[in-house]
């Protein structure tokens, strides 16, 4: 019996969300006194054994180039084979792009109970109950997993990475049957050099209060200074001031950074639905009645065009940047 954690990689690099999943799965295993094991598919350029520092003891590595591109069906079958070999009863994914495609498929294949969007460790005092976000972050539901095998897809940024573990993991080169992918990836287009919004610790976001795309220079400067990703409200993306992938909210991306700085955004309920899981929310808005202040931890009532440049100067001082 073990807890099996899916370690997601892209172009040979392990995703940060998977480190959270590893830490989470390891903690479940520790509490139940069973082994934590990982599974990783495709060629990897990083040191896999070093993942032992997140507590995982053994990692099945299917080092097959046919798995370098993602196909939910092929991945599901490969993982299912490893589940069988490891005898895993709990399988942990990150609820990221790949996890959202594979975890549901795997749950059907294994007749396993699935909870996606988990935000806390399972409560095993009476069954196996996992808390997840519902109503777009406006509430939580406690879900009982009643089948023998349980699959948990952990929301990114909801469990901290734990590097308390010791030593290195045993890497077991594993062969499984890999069928030909029906989904052929023809091109990959990544925004280079930027922090992906879904993985960012800090997000600086702008709304219609910024008046036009020409005013985003200060938003980008502030983001760069903080190592943050940039985001925007929906009307800003709809009017093409900013690219669509920056749109956060009910109908855009849902994010949960440590720090979310909202500038010139009113804080409509549909916007909040995508950002209300942020740990700290800072709002800069010239209208003291803006609903966003009710959801904020810190705020400045003021004109963004005056406040933001000064904020940038102050952060530079703290960071020791000229």
């Amino acid at each position: 019996m073990s807890v099996l954690i899916f370690i997601d990689q892209s172009e040979g690099h392990i995703k940060k969300a998977s480190l959270e999943a590893l830490s989470y799965g390891t903690e479940i295993a520790g509490k139940s006194g069973i082994a934590a094991e990982g599974i990783i598919l495709g060629n990897v350029s990083e040191d896999i054994a070093a993942l032992g520092k997140y507590g995982v003891k053994k990692i099945y590595h299917v080092d097959n180039a046919a798995l370098n591109h993602f196909d939910a069906q092929v991945f599901t079958n490969a993982i299912a084979e490893v589940v069988q070999r490891s005898g895993a009863k709990v399988i942990v994914f990150s609820n990221n792009v790949d996890g959202k495609s594979v975890a549901p498929r795997l749950s059907v294949k294994l007749k396993a109970g699935l909870v996606s969007g988990a935000v806390a460790l399972p409560d095993t005092s009476n069954g196996f109950i996992v808390k997840k976000t519902v109503f777009s972050g406006k509430a939580f539901a406690n879900i009982a997993l009643n089948a023998d095998i349980k699959i948990i897809a952990l929301n990114p940024n909801s469990f901290s990475v734990n590097t308390g573990g010791e030593g290195s993991a045993e890497v077991v080169k594993t062969d499984v049957k890999v069928e030909e992918a029906k989904v052929k990836v023809t091109s990959v287009n990544k925004v280079k050099g930027e922090v992906p919004l879904s993985e960012a610790d800090i997000v600086v976001s702008g709304g219609r209060g910024l008046k036009g795309p020409e005013n985003w220079g200060m938003i980008e400067e502030l983001a760069k200074l903080l190592g943050a990703a940039t985001a925007c409200s929906r009307p800003v993306a709809d009017t093409h001031w900013r690219p669509h992938h920056e749109h956060v909210g009910q109908t855009g991306l849902a994010i949960a950074p440590n720090l979310y700085i909202a500038i010139g955004i009113s804080g409509a309920i549909q916007h909040l639905a995508g950002v209300n899981r942020s740990k700290i929310i800072v709002v800069i808005n010239k209208d003291p009645e803006a609903p966003f202040f009710k959801a904020a931890d810190y705020g400045i009532v003021g004109d963004a065009f005056e406040v933001v440049p000064r904020l940038i100067e102050e952060i530079k001082k703290v960071k020791g940047v000229a």
Partner: protein
């Protein structure tokens, strides 16, 4: 071309979220139900666009729900689509719902099955993947663009920090999100036509749920905002740095 679009009903996006019965049930009294936005704006409208290009296309809608889902499915028919099927089932988990959809899909020889990216109430983002596994079909999730190319589909989908373009033979299950199509509203002709379009009600297949909802909870209330005067951004930076340790 035959397309099946999965439609679920969802509480209007401005609904105040509250629970009853000792926090075991969503307080649905007085709630305005809408078509789940992803199902409407992206999955259904893209299917309609495909039909406009090729009028021989047939669009079926499926919803798993009780009679109170009918106004929503009628509205979907008013937007477009040829007929609807309601699987007359009450509560069940994602596996249960996916099994009902797969049973319908299995009888229809569909080339395409569209779902929304997720429901805005349960936030499962799992039905599409489950349906694809139940039918042993390929699955492309989080699609932002969709084009037909003969017997295959060229799909652009979201990945972390960018996009990926892929090609896949039909049939395929696709979960749809922003970018797929532009939102539209039903017109009078559509609303009239929807009244006479077939809405078939079928009984659910016997399937057991694998999970159940034990209870709901609301997030703890925020402590309240700490306001910093506009002429003192240094204080905000200090608070974020020293108190919140946010950077």
């Amino acid at each position: 071309m035959k397309i099946l679009v999965c439609i679920s009903k969802a509480p209007d996006t401005t609904t105040k979220i509250a629970f009853t019965d000792n926090n075991t049930k969503f307080a649905a009294d007085g709630v305005q139900w809408i078509i789940n936005p992803y199902d409407e704006w992206y999955a259904l409208v893209r299917a309609i666009e495909l039909k406009e290009k090729d009028p021989s296309t047939i669009i079926h809608l499926v919803t798993v729900g009780e009679a109170d889902a009918e106004p929503v499915i009628r509205k979907a028919l008013a937007l477009g689509g040829d007929e609807a099927i309601r699987v007359n089932a009450g509560s069940g988990d994602s596996y249960y719902i996916a099994s009902q959809i797969a049973a319908i899909a299995g009888q229809g020889a569909y080339d395409l099955i569209f779902t929304g990216k997720e429901t805005i109430d349960y936030n499962g983002s799992s039905i599409g993947g489950m349906v694809s596994e139940l039918l042993n079909l390929p699955y492309v999730s989080l699609a932002i663009k969709f084009e037909l190319n003969g017997a295959s589909a060229v799909i652009t989908r979201e990945i972390e920090g960018g996009e990926e373009v892929c090609e896949v033979g039909l049939p395929v299950v696709v979960s749809c999100q922003k970018g797929m199509a532009e939102a539209r509203i039903p017109n009078m002709r559509g609303i009239m036509a929807a009244r006479t379009k077939p809405l078939k009600v079928v009984e659910p297949a016997a399937v057991d749920s694998l999970t159940s909802i034990v209870s709901f909870e609301l997030p703890p209330a925020k402590a309240g905002v700490k306001l910093v005067p506009a002429d003192n951004p240094a204080e905000l930076v200090r608070l974020l740095h020293e108190e919140a340790k946010a950077f």
